[in-house]
Symmetry: C2
Amino acid sequence: MMNLYEVARFLEAHDNYDILTHAYPDGDTLGSGFALCLALRQIGKKARVITTGVPTKFAYLQKNIEEEGFTSETVVSVDVAADSLLGSNMDKYIGKVDLCIDHHGSNTFTAKEKFVDKYAAANCEILYKLFLRMHINFTKDIADCLYTGISTDTGCFRYTNTTAETMRVAASLMDFGCNTAYINKAMFETKSKNKIQLERAVYDSMTYCADGRCAIIYTTLDMLKKLNTGDDEMEGLASIPRQIEGVLIGITMREKEGGFFKISVRTNNNINASDFCSQFGGGGHPAAAGCSIEGDLETVKTTLEKAAEKFLS
Amino acid sequence: MMNLYEVARFLEAHDNYDILTHAYPDGDTLGSGFALCLALRQIGKKARVITTGVPTKFAYLQKNIEEEGFTSETVVSVDVAADSLLGSNMDKYIGKVDLCIDHHGSNTFTAKEKFVDKYAAANCEILYKLFLRMHINFTKDIADCLYTGISTDTGCFRYTNTTAETMRVAASLMDFGCNTAYINKAMFETKSKNKIQLERAVYDSMTYCADGRCAIIYTTLDMLKKLNTGDDEMEGLASIPRQIEGVLIGITMREKEGGFFKISVRTNNNINASDFCSQFGGGGHPAAAGCSIEGDLETVKTTLEKAAEKFLS
Ligand SMILES: [Mn+2]
Ligand SMILES: [Mn+2]
């Protein structure tokens, strides 16, 4: 693996960059991509960002990046942990990636050179340190991109991946003039009308069992159809039941085509979510796990209620 | 006004402290109170924190603070912006406060000496700098208290009062071992069952008008009675309608005893909330204002819908 100085020298030595981001893009992969593009152009290189489409909420990240025509010579990926995550760009690029920069400890991406730092809260945190070693001038646009990646990957500095170092990098980006007011509002205080409708339906579905120590919410195919909404609005729903005071097991049931439900389990107080899910052939982490169960809504729900009551007794 | 070095010397020169916090206590006043108590005891003083009761969710702040019996000689207030905010402790203490430490620019509190820094995101941010000048050893308990105040007053570093300095203070507190995982979960990822019930009812009340550019939610006395809930669960509700994509005016109506509604208005995109409310004899800030309107639910709601449509046309 390269170290960060070697990455800096590599980027200075090459030119005509295609920068790869992952599919279903988040703030970190796009923030990383556009920040790196701006930094490379600043030192006289040609560069462009390859995406599977930039969602409207992230459009501000590319507002000062005009398209450039050139023949690609060097391919760099940012925040891409596995080949399949390139989505529709996979076939064109896999086997041709020169450098992979990432922060996922699980990284299996195919690339000639790699820099992976699993202690970085976001890929943008790595780029901040990389840019220091490249003597990049941290413009407001670059700072906006990097702050976006760091704040979105940490739930605005709330998740446990946030380190003191993460906070100091964010502080420096604020010194460089990033627009935290706009970014935090757009990222954390804006919900689509569909999302609101879905949350409303999900709240209405909520029931408790095991003396209030288990909460269950669900979505059905019917509900999603009626609300004209899909899987992209489901983000974050699974965290709702665990947030409730006194709840040890929070269960989210999502009906899928084919007569089964995908079950997400989140737990508090060292209740083992993975053990709970293994009863149904699933698994995962101690506080967040999943499984699939066949059956209709009432049957699957009753099965889970009984399992929760037994598990907590 | 004293400067921070003078505050440090004052605290070192006196003894037997009553530390005053404000009523309806939040993380900042309690975090400030318990942190100051621990710091004063560390330099050999007697000190205790005076509250109107510590809500269960903040109990961890005082877990290593035993009660001490002594006769009060010095009274210091933390995060208290006005006399009335002492609540049930007002009569006993007003006129006897030696030193007021606060971060509210609007501070009118009656005290012999004052230190007010309106640029501090939280009172705990001031105490961090004060403790440096007192050569306090930042124990984990002190760091937990200060981080709690800073994170709660900034919505976990999301609100616009958060500065680069705030981030660096939080980073230092993390270096000193504060338990961000526990604190962030307890402060930002835990909701009471009552609160969930209320949010559910409020989501069900939501309607749009002015082509989706205005969203209205409400609570009635009936709803609160049925849910067996009160004003303390209302916190944060007013921010829901403004979060919706495309909404310029977010209105929250709360029925009060006496046949009227308290109206909270939050706006986006420079729509002036204060101007909107002034039509009904209210006022406030450009993006957050309020007023009261007499009438029953349907009448008041129709009035607001018409006003919003006119205001946005
Ligand atoms: Mn990432
Ligand atoms: Mn405060």
